[in-house]
């Protein structure tokens, strides 16, 4: 799965996610990626893209949960990490990336690694794996 979240110079946000799904999937199985609010979501406050064991991101409506918790006053970091914690409690694993209208980013994951990168007008670019 790959994804991107962006804040542009007009103060607008967007999210995009794309995946080949799970290896050896059957029965037309679809994960969280194309489900708005689960694997992909953006509004005027935050943009979110998720990756991992999709069934858990669907059951927790993960991307929208980040947006709701942030809108209700949690910091972006707290909102993102608590959603990943909820997924872990259910037995799922994966990660997400989020950017908010102030240009803050959060990239939590509960797997050993997540390929990720970020940068911006006020952030030194970086690429990380573990």
């Amino acid at each position: 799965t790959v994804g991107a979240v962006a804040l542009d110079v007009h103060g607008q946000l967007a999210a995009a996610t794309s995946t080949g799904g799970l290896t050896n999937k059957k029965f037309g199985r679809i994960g969280d990626t194309p489900l708005i609010g689960c694997g992909t979501y953006a509004d005027d406050l935050v943009a979110v893209s998720c990756t991992g064991w999709g069934e858990f991101f669907i059951r927790t409506v993960a991307a929208h949960q980040v947006a709701m918790r942030h809108r209700l006053g949690e910091t972006l970091q707290s909102a993102c990490h608590s959603v990943i914690d909820d997924i872990e409690v259910l037995g799922g694993d994966g990660g997400l990336i989020a950017v908010n209208v102030r240009g803050e980013i959060s990239m939590p994951f509960n797997t050993p690694g997540m390929y990720r990168a970020a940068g911006g007008s006020h952030i030194e670019s970086f690429v990380k794996i573990f």
């Binding site: 794309s18 080949g20 999937k25």
Partner: protein
């Protein structure tokens, strides 16, 4: 005004000792290229939607990641891909599921967002919509990677499922 871009290439049970220095370099380079391209777009004033679609399409074209070209094999040996895009400014969204042959599913998702009264299309209908809007299709050969084929063989032998970046010995039942 500030601009920011973050991207991911999938999470998984990859471990520092499993990934070779050459693989690490390859992945890092691919992510860095996508980041640089996307930041250039934002710097020039491109919209967030344009930037995330372009960035994800670039990652779809890289065989290292489980999306587009590097997609995994389904049980019956096909590549069934999903994608979505959402614009925070007006909450418009486009999503597609279970399409095969579409070179960049994220571009199809954006086309749905911009030219279709529906949000979410799937399967043969989504592929028909793609052809009507002259979206690029590729042959099965384009989507074949030895690494994903091997993963499929391993997973099939054990009747298991694998996440994107998983050593062969870590499977989900």
């Amino acid at each position: 005004m500030r601009y920011t871009l973050a991207l991911h290439g999938g999470a998984g049970t990859l471990l520092p000792e499993v990934i070779t220095p050459a693989e690490r370099k390859e992945f890092t380079q691919a992510l860095d290229d996508a980041l640089k391209t996307g930041l250039e777009l934002l710097k020039k004033g491109s919209s967030a939607v344009e930037t995330v679609v372009h960035t994800v399409a670039k990652l779809e074209d890289c065989p290292l990641f489980n999306a587009g070209r590097g997609s995994v094999f389904s049980h019956d040996g096909r590549h069934e891909m999903d994608a979505a895009v959402m614009n925070g400014a007006d909450r418009k969204a486009g999503a597609v599921a279970s399409v095969s042959g579409v070179k960049n599913p994220v571009i199809l998702a954006r086309t749905i967002m911009e030219h279709c009264p529906h949000v979410f299309l799937s399967g043969a209908g989504a592929e028909e919509f793609a052809r009507l809007h002259e979206i690029d299709f590729e042959s099965e050969k384009w989507f074949y990677t030895r690494h994903r084929y091997h993963q499929w063989q391993v997973a099939k032998a054990d009747n298991a499922l694998l996440l994107d970046h998983t050593p062969d010995d870590v499977k989900y039942g």
